[in-house]
């Protein structure tokens, strides 16, 4: 007999809470979050790259480059770039896997996928790239399909993050790896204060000025604060079944790269 018997709470209040999730600092119904996130990205898609460069002062390119360095990708590999947005990672992977490999750029948001596809086509990258509009929580791919799955700045927008990690684990081949690049918790208190000031006061104004949309960038700042910290996310990786999980803090922990293997 268990010392701590599980008590099922079927009260209307408990059910209501179970149906809720966060959208930035707000509590919303789980069923509505995906469409609300879609609204944010529909709004920012056209200016996404420009805003990324402005917001991070170009450092996001170095974070993504570090992700590629840690990917171990080789010619012939099959890569899934989840929440691939405007295709920064996919462009590089496309050249690295060569004609014998393939890169699937997947995003739940049609606007982002369209911007990404147009950008990659303009770069002359066509032959080994596929585009799929897909929900990370229910990936439409067979088991053991990919050597590498990457997700850069996408996981925090997913409603049920654990479901997404489980789904990614399923589609990875044994020996494959998952890399999640995501905003995280700064490791120094001073940096944290500075970062808060930047995210809540400067970022929305920047969004208003460049993309004419302060709200989406307010959501960005809030969603980062609601995202699990480094250790919690590592634990979620392990829960999904990943092994040899670790993370690397980048720029003082503002961003962290989590890595896990499926064996």
């Amino acid at each position: 007999m268990s010392d701590n018997p599980v008590v099922s709470d079927n009260s209307p209040q408990a059910n209501h809470q179970a149906d809720q999730t966060h959208f930035g600092f707000r509590q919303v119904e789980k069923s509505k979050k995906a469409s609300m996130v879609a609204g944010v990205f529909d709004s920012v898609a056209a200016k996404y790259d420009l805003m990324n460069d402005l917001m991070s002062m170009g450092i996001h390119r170095l974070w993504k480059r570090y992700t590629i360095d840690c990917s171990g990708v080789r010619a012939g590999h099959k890569v899934l770039d989840l929440a691939g947005g405007t295709g920064d990672l996919a462009a590089k992977f496309s050249r690295l896997v060569g004609p014998t490999g393939s890169v699937t750029l997947a995003d739940i948001n049609h606007s982002m996928l369209t911007v990404g596809r147009n950008k990659l086509r303009d770069m002359g990258l066509i032959s080994n790239l596929d585009y799929v509009q897909a929900d990370a929580e229910a990936l439409p791919f067979p088991d053991n399909s990919f050597d590498l799955v990457t997700m850069a700045f996408g996981l925090r927008n997913v409603t049920e993050k654990q479901n997404a990690l489980n789904s990614i684990f399923r589609v990875l081949k044994p020996g494959g790896r998952l890399l999640v690049l995501e905003f995280s918790k700064p490791q120094s208190e001073h940096l944290s204060k500075l970062y808060d000031m930047y995210s809540f006061h400067i970022l929305p104004k920047m969004g208003q000025l460049v993309a004419n949309d302060a709200e989406s960038y307010q959501y960005l700042a809030e969603s980062i604060r609601m995202h699990p910290d480094q250790e919690t996310l590592k634990g979620m990786f392990e829960t999904a079944g990943f092994e040899q999980c670790d993370f690397h803090n980048l720029t003082g922990g503002i961003v962290a790269l989590h890595r896990g293997f499926k064996f």
């Binding site: 570090y66 010619a75 050249r95 004609p99 002359g124 690397h248 980048l250």
Partner: protein, 213 residues
């Protein structure tokens, strides 16, 4: 780490920029399509990978040299050398000596390294043409003619200074010996060394004879 990523990004940008300035480099690059050259430079622990496609991608390697060699694929070549012998790698006649001395280690497909070396060594960039895109032909031509003239004049001045200083040191101040005098001195030293060795051998022989009697 962003610092390491910044380094590889700068290197990648620089290499691709140089290749883009030489129209003939595309043919040489095509020979390397799909191949990777992995480079370890001591004393740095981490290596770099140059992945060739229609451009060159530069990646920082995950593993150290021995682990990288153990994972080497058929389309890869791994080179390990020291920073101070890097300049000697351009002389193909020196490669065997460097390998024998352990200053250069090559694993995997050697042709990849040869093609990669050829890709960069054969770079032929018409800098005057590049400048003319921004300044026009006349200004570019005059700038380069002026630079060539300045270089020639500078070399002439350096030669004269060299000769003047040499003359002052050897003839006027007699602080240094003339080249012929140094050669003569070296020959004399060689001759003296031979004489001493001969004498030493003679003594040894006499010592043996004395012991036997």
């Amino acid at each position: 780490m962003p610092a390491q990523s910044l380094l590889t990004a700068t290197l990648e940008q620089g290499l691709n920029r140089l290749l883009a300035l030489d129209p003939d480099s595309a043919d040489r690059l095509a020979k390397l399509h799909g191949y990777r050259l992995l480079v370890f430079l001591e004393p740095f622990r981490r290596g770099l990978a140059l992945a060739f496609s229609d451009k060159v991608d530069v990646l920082a390697l995950e593993h150290e040299h021995s682990a990288t060699v153990a994972r080497l694929g058929s389309n890869e070549c791994c080179i390990k050398t020291r920073l101070d012998v890097l300049g000697e790698l351009s002389q193909t006649s020196q490669l065997t000596r460097l390998i024998q001395q352990g200053a250069l280690q090559v694993d995997g497909e050697l042709q990849i390294a040869q093609h990669a070396s050829n890709l960069f060594q054969s770079l032929d960039i018409d800098w005057e043409e590049q400048l003319s895109r921004y300044t026009g032909d006349v200004v570019a031509h005059q700038t380069f003619a002026l630079a060539a003239h300045a270089k020639e004049s500078l070399l002439g001045v350096l030669d004269r200074i060299n000769a003047g200083v040499g003359n002052a040191l050897v003839e006027e101040k007699t602080l240094a010996a003339h080249r012929l005098a140094v050669m003569h001195f070296s020959d004399e030293v060689d001759r003296l060394r031979d004489d001493v060795e001969r004498l030493d051998a003679r003594f040894s022989q006499l010592q043996k004879q004395l012991k036997n009697t």
